[in-house]
């Protein structure tokens, strides 16, 4: 299971403030906390800073790499920004993200090759998002085709089937879960990844919904997630779900995480 720590994101108020005020220590503490909690990648995002995005992202990347050896997940809506900052990474990064939009694909896939990166592919075309399981799987197939025909191994692709608020459409979470299972079955070697918070939009006790969704997604084959690794209840659900799916030999991942005080 690949855990991508989501906390250093400029859409969060405290992070935006830390970036704006140049509070290096705050960013570094966030990176360390996520690393200690078991993250595999640290997501870095400065998209809220618009025209200053590249500059801010460079600053974040340098700050984070001073305190952790973890690889980064470079999260930007702008391929040009990704191209500018990727030169700074010390380890092969993950790129967040591509869609089927040709200009995005054409500028990001060469970076994936040059930097030995992995890449998140959203089940989204230029003007449409996959809503039903069938739509998601169909778009996933086209992403696999684009990535592999560019000479990139399928194991470098993390497909995000997209998660929508179940409060706005009762069948939307099920569509995502069905898609995860089908994508993992149809495209051997590919990974699936999700963000979790969208699923609970508009509902009470959101964290309960998020972690239950994560457990169900893991049961369907999800093998990566973008989340807050410092959320012990969420990590508890994740470790328990992996163990119950037979993906934790002798349950040692679960036991070790428990001993470290990471589960609740």
């Amino acid at each position: 299971m690949i855990i991508i720590g989501e906390n250093i994101n400029s859409s969060r108020r405290q992070i935006a403030e830390a970036i704006a005020s140049g509070n290096r220590e705050y960013i570094q503490n966030e990176a360390k906390a996520q690393s200690d909690a078991g993250a595999d990648y640290i997501d870095v995002n400065a998209a809220a800073f618009m025209e200053k995005e590249a500059e801010c992202l460079k600053w974040i990347i340098e700050a984070v790499q001073e305190v952790t050896d973890l690889p980064l997940c470079i999260d930007s809506p702008d391929p040009k920004v990704i191209g500018k900052v990727i030169t700074l990474v010390k380890k092969p990064p993950m790129i967040n993200s591509i869609t089927l939009e040709p200009s995005r694909l054409n500028s990001i896939l060469p970076l994936v090759i040059d930097y030995g990166a992995t890449v998140i592919g959203l089940c989204q075309t230029r003007n449409e998002m996959g809503r039903t399981a069938a739509e998601k799987v169909e778009i996933a197939g086209r992403l696999v085709e684009k990535v592999t025909s560019a000479g990139i191994g399928i194991e470098s692709l993390y497909i995000d089937p997209l998660v929508f608020p179940v409060g706005a459409d009762s069948n939307s979470a099920c569509a995502t879960l069905d898609a995860i299972e089908e994508i993992m079955k149809q495209f051997q070697g590919v990974h699936t990844v999700c963000g979790l918070t969208n699923v609970s939009h508009g509902l009470p006790n959101r964290k309960l919904v998020n972690r239950t969704f994560l457990a169900e997604a893991i049961a369907r084959g999800l093998d990566a997630a973008i989340l807050d690794p410092a959320d012990k209840q969420l990590l508890g659900a994740l470790r328990a779900a992996l163990m119950l799916m037979g993906k934790d030999e002798y349950c040692m991942g679960y036991i070790k995480a428990f001993r470290k005080g990471l589960l609740a």
């Binding site: 618009m50 989204q124 003007n127 608020p165 459409d169 009470p204």
Partner: protein
């Protein structure tokens, strides 16, 4: 007797029971109550209360949606009678869409539904709407308000572009402009020169009503 029936109708809307809402509307009409009275005394208090409960966090998104559906079904039942009586249930004409480059439409669809439930005639331009298309629609239609949403920080500048395009096409005085979406703020709405900002679907309806009111006032002054 009619008071009790109105209360049951209000309750049906609050509970999102659309079949009850429709059958109670029929019952009320059969008893000789006017469609307008059923609407104003039974249905509207219900949907207004739903909005209030949602805005204070007591009602959740699915409850807003199901009550909105009950409201739409009840209004559809009454509509022929309302129209026949000459007093059309028509709050105004609303043009809606997501900005260029943004294909997130859940929020837009909820706003659209709430507006319809409150008597607005809504024309939906869909997602990823370029400024030219917005201008054409405004020029060719007689809308009171154009509402657009941007869900991403990166698509927010497109809301600015849309306002500029409307202005450049000489259409700014023809229409009121509203803007919404997760990263959007009142400050941003003011900066781009929109007339209104709403943080959620309930507020969108209230802002729409107040903007439309202002439109009328201005017309009266003119």
């Amino acid at each position: 007797m009619s008071n009790e029936l109105f209360e049951r109708l209000t309750r049906a809307i609050l509970d999102g029971k659309y079949q009850d809402a429709v059958s109670l509307c029929r019952e009320a009409v059969a008893k000789g109550l006017t469609a307008r009275s059923v609407l104003e005394n039974g249905l509207m208090p219900g949907i207004r209360k739903v909005g209030e409960l949602f805005s204070v966090g007591e009602y959740y998104l699915p409850e807003l949606l199901i009550s909105g559906k009950a409201m739409q079904a009840a209004v559809a039942e009454l509509e022929p009678l309302l129209n026949a009586g000459g007093g059309k249930f028509h709050a105004g004409k609303y043009l809606i869409g997501t900005v260029k480059g943004d294909i997130h439409d859940i929020g837009k669809n909820i706003v659209s539904m709430m507006l319809k439930g409150n008597g607005w005639e809504v024309t939906d331009l869909g997602v990823d709407v370029p400024p030219e298309k917005i201008c054409t629609a405004i020029a060719e239609g007689d809308y009171d308000i154009f509402g657009m949403s941007a869900l991403l920080t990166v698509t927010m500048p497109e809301a600015d572009e849309a306002v500029k395009a409307i202005r450049d096409a000489g259409l700014r005085d023809k229409i009121k402009i509203m803007v919404g979406g997760a990263p959007v703020t009142q400050e941003f709405a003011d900066k781009i020169g929109a007339d209104g900002y709403a943080k959620d679907a309930f507020e969108a309806v209230n802002i729409a009503i107040s903007l439309k009111g202002r439109t009328r006032q201005q017309e009266e002054i003119a």
